[in-house]
Symmetry: C2
Subunit: 208 residues, 2 copies
DNA sequence: GTTCATCCGTGAACATTATAACAAATGATT
DNA sequence: AATCATTTGTTATAATGTTCACGGATGAAC
């Protein structure tokens, strides 16, 4: 069954919240409460959670542990992905330390950079390779997901090199530029400038 | 007139592309071409651009410089915002060096951290203050936008301190947790984990 | 046990966003 | 000057997403 992107996004939020509630040994929670904690309408929460079958109990609410496991199952991949990070600059290093990259859903197998001082090093227990050799190494290692933390100018070249390996199925890019890839490769973009611009734009509107 | 959020998001993309085209001394561009370069439908591009009046020329296309200035005007704030960054960890420092924070639309006036080694320092020509003093300093300086690059556990406390100053109108948070603020404060969230999770979820779906 | 307040699941109504379709304008060509 | 290939702006339509409203469970209180 097809699930909408906004729903998946909220599922991740539910997952986090449920983990927290579970740790607090909370037993039961209602859609109302979930909504208040996450800033969503209760009806939205119920609709999202009902996509995957009846999991709550009418008149009672959702059993925290059961719902937690359920959402966890939905989000869990059927295997551990192999990923690589391209660009070990400040942002790349920040990501290496960020909890987003500490997940059991994937293993970070390789870093790439073009700085000779970094090539050959092992950073955060991950080896760093020369960007020039990206295609071969990605292919050898069978890496399927690539995170790009490089300047806009280098993004397309890196994307091309990664895709050329033939094993890459998804790209998460932080570069502030559009990249073009074959349509079978899924691209997600995190664009800090865009979010800031949106914030300022709507602030301007509110002042007026 | 009200403009939809997805439209504003794309306006930023148009803006970037037009800057580039302008630098390349390109004179004219069509909605078709813009769409191809950004991965959008031509009709979408035309609709977005027409929200702000007739700016193209039928049978010809859009005059690059004129459109560039036009989009630039739409996105430009009516004054320079004063902003602060809370949390000078790896992610905060990455942002300090990132081009997203080099904009003429705002001035970064203060940093906040609770690390004694950083308090009192001037980092990237911006003074770093003790997080404890956040409310007073934000109020004194009249800071209106706050960027949170801190762990989830500290996010709500920092948001509360910032909002308590009474001058803050918008928050951009990188924390992986929901924060609750008065409804007159606009919050945007950049959530790296969520984007990665979404990518993996839809990859799983494609494999099946 | 009956009543009652609570709360889920769901289909329908509503709102938003994207796409398609086409008339009107433009400049090139003949 | 008339025709033609383009390309915009806009209206109509389709697709998507959110909220409402209510039937039907559930357990607590008395």
């Amino acid at each position: 069954m097809r699930v909408a992107e906004p729903t998946v996004e909220r599922l991740v939020l539910y997952y986090r919240l449920l983990m927290q509630l579970h740790n607090e040994e909370r037993r039961v929670v209602s859609s109302q409460e979930i909504g208040e904690m996450l800033g969503l309408k209760a009806s939205q929460v119920r609709k999202d959670l009902s996509y995957f079958g009846e999991i709550g109990k009418r008149g009672v609410g959702y059993h925290v542990e059961r719902l937690y496991r359920h959402v966890s199952d939905i989000l869990s991949p059927d295997r551990v992905w192999k990923i690589a990070l391209v660009g070990v600059g400040r942002l790349g290093e920040a990501l290496l330390g960020h909890k987003a990259l500490r997940s059991e859903k994937f293993r970070l197998e390789a870093l790439f950079d073009n700085d000779p001082a970094k090539i050959g090093q092992v950073i955060c227990s991950v080896p760093c390779y020369d960007s020039e050799e990206m295609t071969e190494i990605i292919r050898e290692k069978g890496i399927e997901v690539v995170i790009l933390t490089i300047p806009a100018a280098a993004a397309q070249v890196s994307a091309d090199r990664a895709v050329a390996a033939g094993t890459v199925k998804g790209i998460l890019t932080f570069a502030t530029t559009a990249i073009s890839v074959p349509e079978e490769v899924l691209v997600y973009r995190v664009d800090i400038s865009v979010e800031l611009e949106k914030l300022l734009f709507f602030l301007k509107g509110r002042m007026a």
